[in-house]
Amino acid sequence: MPDGSNSQAFVEFDRVQKSYDGEVLVVKDLNLAVGRGEFLTMLGPSGSGKTTVLMMLAGFETATNGEIRLGGKEINNIPPHKRGIGMVFQNYALFPHMSVAENLSFPLEVRNIGKSEREGKIKRALDMVQMGDFGGRRPAQLSGGQQQRIALARALVFEPELVLMDEPLGALDKQLRETLQFEITNLAHELGITTVYVTHDQTEALTMSDRVAVFDDGRIQQLAPPDDLYEKPQNSFVAQFIGENNALRGTVTSLSKDRCVVKLDGTGEQIDALPVNVAKEGDKTLVSIRPERVEFNPDLGENAHTLDAEVMEFVYMGDVFRTRLKVAGRDDFIVKTRNRADQVRLSPGEKVKIGWLPQDCRALDP
């Protein structure tokens, strides 16, 4: 698996800033390197600046400050059509007045590629997305999923080294989205294309990417492989944004290298946590625990802390049970347990003890 941190970064953002009105920075000091053949996803809520970054890379927006490099060459002042970057849009952007084959032929024609060669490439690209028989159709005669396959084929037909995808699956239904997620990752890895993918859907980001850059407020909050992102969030935004998360507020009372004690705000109970983003004793902190790492009436050894909890709600979800608890004065603590034959089903009002391993409990910035 390619690593973005190696010296031959293919795409590089060096201290890039972007402002539209001269007053507010939409992208603040972006430093990012994407390795050759890497599948990088930019994930974030809307307005976080991820699409702006993509547009700067494609050439539709200019960077206010800093340098963008592609294959080691600065591309800040190169117009979009000379960058040779394939792009897939959320609304497919298939030209409605051209047939599917004509759409695919367009990037080849503007590159003055001969007719016979064009036809070969178009056929290969259509076969690649399993749409070989649809060359004569108009985009309006295709379903959303088919249109997106064609858009993908069009972005790949001129064999670019870098493909940008701007929420390409946003308009599709869940099942289709999952199929296409799989196909896109497969294609990207087979062809060895570098892909920068923008989405606000975290499942999509986690399942498809080599690395994920989580954007918020114009900055990259964390850039890491999906498993790190989920299991080792660096700050509370990432912890809250990726997956379901239980957050407990408190104050650090003692701090060592790999252990800290946090006094919870509500009840004053003390728990052990892994210090990630706390600097000194007396700091406010937000403790993050994943719902599936919590156990009822735990038997986790003497290091484990237990807390008193009261069941507020029990939801049967098929493969898991979702239990909402009142913990440390807050009633939004979620616990997920697998649906096993021996699993107890709690009813509202019951008092239970909950606990977890200290390393699953991360003390982050407040």
């Binding site: 494609a58 050439g59 539709f60 117009p79 979009p80 059509h81 000379k82 960058r83 040779g84 970057i85 394939g86 792009m87 849009f89 609304n91 952007a93 030209f95 409605p96 007045h97 367009f106 990037p107 503007v110 590159r111 069009r154 972005a155 001129f158 940008l164």
Partner: protein, 584 residues
């Protein structure tokens, strides 16, 4: 249900039966509803009430459109071929002209018919209208008819004198009543007369004026009825006498029983009697007729043809006048359409108009050429403006849109007059060109009162009709198409030409149709700034509607214009496709 277990005898809704039904339907090519009726019938029945309600809902508007829009157009189309005035005013003449050979004046019989028709027409004052109608085709007929109207009442006076000389009774209206009036009418009239006398006596006896007014007798005389013997025995006389009686009663409000008949009636009587007709009368009337019949042989014969040609106007002997009457004698004519195509209808068939009167083909060609020029100018000027408008931020584009619409809030006349000020030889534009040195002072450009003026002024006036549909179509073209094109490697121009422009074509289509159709029928601006070389066919139509009053020709020109527009519309549909027109 003796054999209920046999699947084939089961009649309910079973899967087997459904398959059988489907098979049957496939064979007959018809889908069946659950109750076995054809699905189409069933559907139509269920929708009928809905359709009816919808129709009732739009009925007022539909009727309004029919009355105010469809009906006038239909009337106009009808007027362009309608020509009943000739056959209605000159029925006898038109019939007599059937046997005319088309050379010189027709025979005496035709002139007799003409005399009868014209006497009646003159009494009804219809002859001048007919004269004007035929004057469109042959100049001079209007004054000929007017002249004839003044002299035609003298025809037959010679015979009248001879009849009276023969027997004084011929002068007496009562004689004519015995010969012509139906017995029932005489009785009715007697009844009416006694009622009237009684009423007048009562009125005389009234003491106050108000009472007298209340008692006033206002019933008109019962309408005249011809008797059967007269129309058999003396057909010509009877036919004219009936007209005489009707006109006397309705137009002059007199009684035919008291008025002396027209001279032309004696003429007709002479014609009837000298042809040997007049049998069927009894008693005194028979004696009178027999006596007259044996006397007419000795009457001095008077030629009406000679009278018309020598006494009234020698034009009555010309082939042209008679040819025109014959050519336009049918109730429907292609004459107006032929005239619109610079052709004319004569007794010999279709001929070209004389060279100096051929204007319509030229005008149609000029109208088409100038409308197309205006349309293309509008596309050239409007496209960049619409493009700018659709790509600017909302606030700015709305402001600019108001500037586009501003001309609509100014009177058309003001705008056109402004162009007069700008474009005239001593006007602003010429002054600037002279000042820059592009044009010599003694050689200023002629920018108005010609085609240039019309094209400039009309392009300005019709420009919003191009910009608005273009703008609303361009508004709907998302920016990501051009982005996609650029990301695929297209230069700005290629992205515009191959991706943006084809998607804006529906707007160009809609704008072009609007501008072209508006300009093809434009009237006021060419009239004001067009001079003689910059006028349209519509100016000619307006002239025929309001000045020459030749509505038939105006209608024909209008119909041709309508047909032209429809043909162009059809061609547009074939070449570009009418679904490729969008107003946004």
């Amino acid at each position: 249900m003796a054999n209920a277990t046999d699947p084939d005898s089961y009649t309910g809704a079973t899967p087997d039966n459904a398959i059988r039904d489907a098979d049957r339907a496939e064979k007959t090519g018809q889908m069946l509803a659950a109750d076995g009726t054809p699905l189409k019938t069933s559907l139509a029945r269920s929708l009928r009430a809905q359709k009816l309600r919808a129709l009732m809902l739009i009925a007022p508007l539909l009727i309004f459109i029919l009355v105010t829009f469809i009906a006038p157009i239909a009337d106009m189309l009808f007027r362009s071929v309608e020509n009943q005035i000739v056959s209605e005013t000159l029925p006898r003449t038109v019939q007599a002209l059937d046997s005319w050979d088309g050379e010189g004046a027709p025979d005496e019989e035709t002139f007799r018919a003409l005399a009868a028709d014209l006497t009646i027409a003159t009494e009804l004052k219809n002859h001048t209208r007919l004269g004007s109608r035929l004057n469109y085709e042959t100049t001079g007929i209007s004054s000929l008819f007017r002249q004839t109207g003044r002299d035609v009442d003298e025809i037959g006076e010679g015979y009248m004198e001879q009849f009276i000389e023969l027997d004084e009774a011929w002068e007496d209206p009562a004689t004519w009543m015995t010969l012509m009036a139906a017995d029932s009418w005489i009785e009715n009239r007697a009844q009416w007369a006694s009622d009237k006398a009684e009423a007048e006596a009562a009125q005389d006896a009234a003491t106050t004026a108000a009472e007298a007014i209340a008692l006033e007798f206002t019933d008109p005389e019962p309408p005249f009825r011809l008797n059967d013997i007269a129309s058999d025995a003396l057909p010509r006389t009877a036919s004219i006498f009936r007209q005489f009686a009707r006109i006397t009663q309705t137009e002059n409000e007199d009684s035919p029983a008291e008025e002396e008949p027209w001279a032309i009636i004696y003429q007709a009587l002479y014609e009837d009697l000298s042809a040997g007709r007049g049998d069927g009368y009894e008693g005194q009337a028979a004696t009178l007729i027999d006596e007259a019949r044996s006397a007419v042989v000795g009457f001095e014969d008077q030629s009406i043809k000679d009278y018309f040609i020598n006494e009234i106007d020698e034009d009555w002997g010309s082939t042209e006048v008679w040819g025109t009457i014959k050519a336009f004698s049918s109730p429907y004519t292609a004459g107006y359409f032929l005239a619109s195509a610079d052709l004319q209808l004569t007794a010999q068939g279709i001929e070209k108009q004389p060279e100096d009167q051929q204007i319509y083909a030229l005008l149609f060609k000029r109208t088409m050429f100038m409308s197309l020029t205006i349309m293309f100018s509008c596309i050239l000027l409007g496209y960049p403006i619409a493009f700018l408008l659709s790509n600017l931020p909302m606030r700015t584009s709305n402001m600019l849109l108001i500037l586009v619409l501003l001309p609509f809030w100014t009177s058309l006349l003001v705008r056109t007059s402004a162009w007069k000020v700008l474009l005239q030889q001593q006007g602003v534009i010429n002054d600037i060109l002279v000042w820059i040195g592009l044009v010599a002072d003694n050689d200023r450009l002629q920018l108005i009162n010609n085609q240039t003026g019309t094209i400039i002024a009309m392009t300005h006036i019709l420009l919003p009709f191009m910009i608005l549909p273009l703008y609303s179509v361009m508004k709907t073209i998302p920016p990501y198409y051009v982005r996609a094109a650029k990301s695929l490697g297209a230069t700005n121009w290629t992205a515009f030409w191959r991706v943006y422009f084809p998607q804006s074509v529906p707007g160009i289509g809609a704008g072009s149709i609007l501008v072209f159709i508006l300009s093809i029928g434009y009237y006021i601006t060419p009239e004001l700034v067009g001079g003689t070389t910059g006028t349209f066919i519509s100016n000619r139509i307006a002239y025929h509607i309001s000045s020459s009053l030749n509505w038939g020709l105006a209608a024909a020109l209008g119909s041709i214009l309508l047909a032209l527009v429809l043909v162009l519309y059809y061609l547009y549909d074939r070449i570009v496709g009418i679904d490729n027109v969008s107003l946004g």
